[in-house]
């Protein structure tokens, strides 16, 4: 039987989904093991606590004697953080994510070849490319970041798996040529940059969620000694998470600004006006304003920390809303879902 390029692409999509699922399970096992490690550490810590508490309490700050110790143990003394060593399931998770990414990339490239154009011209293809970019951004950040962010794998692989599944089952359309309105170099630029910023916003969102959970755990740990230790104890502290989320979100914001501008330039060519409050334009604007608010909030006294994290979460919710509800149910000029 001779398979068409698009059929091979679909096979790759489903294979990628299977591998993503394995990666998701591996990452989840890792999170479970982190909880176990955290509990074990508390038990161990309880035994030495009596001795340790005296030493730390007396020094009152990072004197050179305490600073010479590993930072993790210092943090543990302060807020119950736990050092977490190597984890085989974490490495399996990352390896499976890379494998899934390769399959996913092949699926997307083949889809582009089958259609004879860039593979992001309808809802199915947006989802295919958008999720590919989410995984790509995740893997790039893993390489670039000084922090170990592999713990985000559960969220990233889970999100990608769900979106890919919905796309493959509900949004699939066979490859068809571009209508005249989409025949523009701006399709390549505008949509690609938009998808890339969605990838960054997704990662920023995940970090903000973990930041909020971590902040809550920290505030409990600060008041009560017997705070329940979860996998969070093995993750970076909330300030570190917030700074990471901020850095990723501002890159996303700049790309989103560019998306908005490139879209306007294209709209001028295709529709005869650069801005007309079309539903998609409205939501692009709303997303921009929400993230602008997030950046402002972070510079406003009393808003840095959890409050600004909530804005990042609202921001990503509007992104998802824009991608799903606005595409499918709102009337407007961006009627390219192909459904």
């Amino acid at each position: 039987m001779q398979l068409t390029l698009d059929e091979i692409s679909i096979l790759c999509v489903y294979s990628a989904m299977v591998v993503y699922a394995i990666a998701f399970i591996a990452f989840s096992i890792d999170l479970a093991r982190r909880s176990a490690a955290a509990t074990a550490a508390t038990d161990a810590a309880a035994r030495v606590e009596a001795k340790e508490a005296v030493g730390v309490g007396a020094s009152g700050g990072p004197s050179s004697a305490v600073a010479a110790k590993p930072a993790a143990s210092l943090r543990q003394a302060q807020d119950g953080a736990v050092a977490y060593g190597r984890s085989p399931s974490l490495r399996v998770g990352v390896a499976m994510t890379v494998l899934a990414w390769i399959l996913h990339l092949s699926a997307t490239v083949l889809r582009g070849l089958a259609a004879g154009r860039v593979p992001w011209a309808n809802m199915y293809e947006f989802a295919l490319t958008g999720t590919l970019i989410i995984t790509t951004v995740f893997l790039v950040v893993l390489v670039v970041s000084k922090q170990d962010l592999r713990f985000l794998g559960t969220f990233i692989t889970g999100l990608v798996l769900v979106l890919l599944g919905v796309a493959a089952l509900n949004f699939y359309v066979s490859p068809i040529p571009l209508p005249p309105a989409l025949q523009s170099v701006w399709l390549v630029i505008h949509v690609f940059v938009a998808s890339a910023s969605v990838g960054l916003f997704a990662l920023g969102f995940a970090l903000s969620v973990v930041q909020l959970m971590q902040a809550r755990r920290e505030s409990i740990a600060a008041t009560a000694k017997a705070a329940k230790l979860t996998f969070l104890a093995t993750l970076p502290d909330s300030v570190t998470l917030e700074n990471l989320a901020y850095r990723i979100n501002i890159i996303g914001f700049i790309m989103w600004t560019f998306t908005l501008m490139a879209g306007s330039i294209w709209a001028e060519k295709a529709w005869g006006r650069y801005w007309g409050w079309d539903t998609k334009e409205v939501w692009t604007f709303i997303i921009w304003v929400v993230y602008a608010g997030y950046i402002h909030a972070r510079a406003t006294r009393g808003w840095r920390g959890s409050r600004s994290a909530w804005l990042a979460i609202i921001g990503f919710s509007t992104v998802l809303f824009n991608f799903t509800v606005v595409n499918l149910f709102f009337k407007g000029l961006h009627a390219y879902s192909g459904l």
Binding site: S64, A67, A68, A71, A72, Y84, K146, Q147, D148, V173, S174, P175, I176, P177, P179, P180, A181, Q183, S184, W186, L235, P236, N243, R247, I254, T257, M261, I265, W266, E268, K269, W271, G272, R273, W275, G276, W277, D278, T279, V282, W283, F285, I286, V289, V290, A292, G293, H296, R298, A299, T300, R301, G302, W303, R304, L311, V326, K331, G332, L333
Partner: protein, 583 residues
């Protein structure tokens, strides 16, 4: 977190995270009674605070939402009409809240105008302050550097004096873009350096350019215009006010701004997908071939495509729609031509089933209206109704229902050329009349009901045979295999715009993006190098820095500079450097 107040700090609203924290109780205790000016000042301080700006931003986002839920007059006027029909009770209430004009409504405007006032109130003092900071010397070196970020020590290199080491540090710092100033305190020489003024510059450019966009958009809307015109192949449009089908001028528009040039639609090429089974009939390309002729100029051949508008004579011409314009000729019972024209039919679906209206005002006993359906590729449904199965001309068929009576156009009230009001007319065929609709292929002629005359669907194929009667059987067989591809004229619907400030908006947009990049990624930081005399008489070099705003690379920068200046630290000295998280 908040740095000490000094002249180099950017002037920010009091609640900016980089501003000095107010002392506890400061606001409530020593506050004198506010006079009128005091209240104004208080109000202004509130309006220009970060918190208000943030609130207004979030309000703006929320206020923009209804415009995507309810159709807007600006982008979807037909949708608004339909909404009124479907929700006759709710619609007027929503209209009262300007829900159909959200983006020009009083409340939406109030939010963004307040936001921009707040923004301007923030930009002006900050710009003034930034100019001063640009001229100011980097601040005095702090007495103790050990508390600051990235603090590290290096031994004074062999055979070098403290003063020489500080000199070389100053030189190297200047080379890497720092502004430097030498200080000496209690015999300990030091250099204070600051860089990244561009960060604040970028921030100010970004915010100023936002105001620029708003102003440019406002002016463009006021002095520009947009108009629509349908042109059938072979017709010429002259850019004058009367020639537009519809025209929306800006508030300050005068028609002397129209340059009268001629635009002739020579032909419109439409290409549809024929091979891909999943996309048969999907449009692949529309190209309008036009001739442009200015006053006293030579005619120029140009093209207009969907993503390639035509820029000519200060206007932008966009191809936004197209369809068929069957050429219809009506003769009265005496055989005189009472109507002949290419009538644009409005497409109703992807396969271009189209509806059009013919209005015969004179030359008949009564005024005559004809409601026509045009099918470029006729296909009969099982119900007997017709539809079009392909958008190109494979088997074109025109059906006409004839109405006689009063067209309602004599009272002077404007009526659309695309609709027929049958309320004052009598239907003569089609529908429930019991008389069949007239059905014509290109080149055929049929009798009108009641012996009123004839109607012909002209075949405009170059060199086409003269029209034949619809009942001519010999022709019927031939029509099956005929090539109709040129038999019906097409029309193009053009949008013609003039926006004098479009380039300004683009320029400001570029500044926004540039300003944003600079303001978010250029680190603003201070760095100090100090030669410190130890109690034992030895001299060590201390390095430390202070971030002004988000600066993830700060500590690396200090270490990097110290390594470059005094060589890498010894192994046991690195242990003293602040621990970097390494989980």
């Amino acid at each position: 977190m908040s740095p000490q107040s000094d002249p180099g700090a950017p002037s920010r609203p009091a609640d900016h995270i980089d501003s000095t924290e107010p002392e506890a109780g400061d606001a409530s205790i020593a506050q004198p009674k506010l006079g009128f000016v005091g209240w104004l000042r208080f109000g202004w301080r509130q309006l220009t605070s970060m918190r208000t700006a943030l609130l207004l931003l979030l309000l703006l986002a929320i206020a923009a939402v209804p415009g995507s839920l309810v159709p807007q007059r600006s982008s979807d006027p037909n949708g608004v009409t339909q909404y009124f029909d479907k929700n006759p009770e709710l619609a007027p209430i929503l209209d009262g809240f300007q829900m159909f004009d959200v983006y020009t409504s009083a409340w939406f405007s109030a939010i963004y105008l307040l936001l921009f006032v707040s923004l301007i109130g923030c930009i002006i003092p900050r710009t003034k302050h930034h100019f001063e900071a640009l001229r100011a010397r980097p601040p005095r070196t702090p007495v103790r550097l050990s508390r600051l970020a990235g603090h590290t020590e290096r031994a004074l290199p062999e055979g070098e004096t403290a003063a020489a080491a500080i000199d070389s540090a100053a030189k190297q710092l200047r080379q890497s873009g720092y502004r430097v100033e030498r200080y000496e305190l209690r015999g300990e020489p030091s250099v204070s350096a600051e860089r990244g003024y561009l960060r604040e510059t970028g921030n100010l450019v970004f915010h100023t350019a936002l105001v620029g966009v708003l102003v440019a958009v406002g002016f463009g809307g006021g002095f520009g215009f947009s108009g629509q015109r349908v042109i059938v192949e072979g017709q010429t449009f002259v850019n004058t006010l009367a020639a537009y089908d519809s025209f929306n001028p800006g508030r300050f528009f005068t028609d002397t701004r129209l340059t009268p040039y001629g635009l002739t639609l020579e032909n419109l090429d439409a290409v549809y997908e024929t091979r891909n089974q999943d996309a048969i009939g999907q449009p692949i390309d529309f190209t309008a071939h036009v001739t442009v002729q200015g006053q006293g100029g030579d005619p120029e051949d140009r093209t207009v495509k969907v993503n390639e508008p035509l820029y000519t004579h200060g206007t932008d011409v966009y191809l936004l729609g197209n369809g068929y314009a069957p050429t219809i000729t009506v003769k009265n019972a005496d055989g005189e031509v009472v109507f002949t024209d290419a009538v644009p039919f409005l497409p109703q679906d992807a396969n271009l089933t189209s509806i059009g209206v013919v209005k015969v005002t004179d030359g008949m006993p009564e005024q005559l209206g004809m409601l026509g359906f045009f099918y470029p590729t006729q296909h009969e449904l099982t119900s007997g109704a017709y539809t079009s199965s392909y958008p190109d001309l494979i088997l074109p068929v025109l059906t006409l229902n004839v109405y006689a009576g009063d067209l309602g156009i004599d009272e002077g009230t404007p009526t659309s050329v695309y609709t027929l009001d049958p309320s004052t007319m009598e239907q003569l065929n089609g529908g429930k009349t019991g008389v069949d609709s007239i059905e014509l292929k290109p080149g055929q002629t049929a009798e009108l009901p009641n012996g009123l005359g004839t109607v012909t669907f002209e075949d405009v194929t170059p060199g086409a045979a003269p029209a034949v009667d619809v009942d001519d059987d010999a022709d019927a067989a031939a029509s099956e295999s005929r090539n109709y591809s040129q038999s019906v004229s097409r029309f193009a619907s053009f949008d013609i715009h003039h926006d004098p400030t479009q380039m300004w908006v683009l320029a400001f947009a570029a500044l926004i993006l540039g300003g944003l990049l600079v303001s978010l990624f250029v680190p603003r930081r201070r760095m100090w190098v100090k030669a410190v005399s130890k109690p034992d008489g030895s001299v060590v070099l201390e390095y430390a820095a202070l971030a002004r705003g988000d600066d993830p690379g700060l500590e690396d920068a200090v270490t990097g500079f110290a390594d470059k200046h005094a060589g890498p630290a010894d192994a046991d000295e690195t242990a003293d450097a602040p621990e970097k998280s390494s989980t």
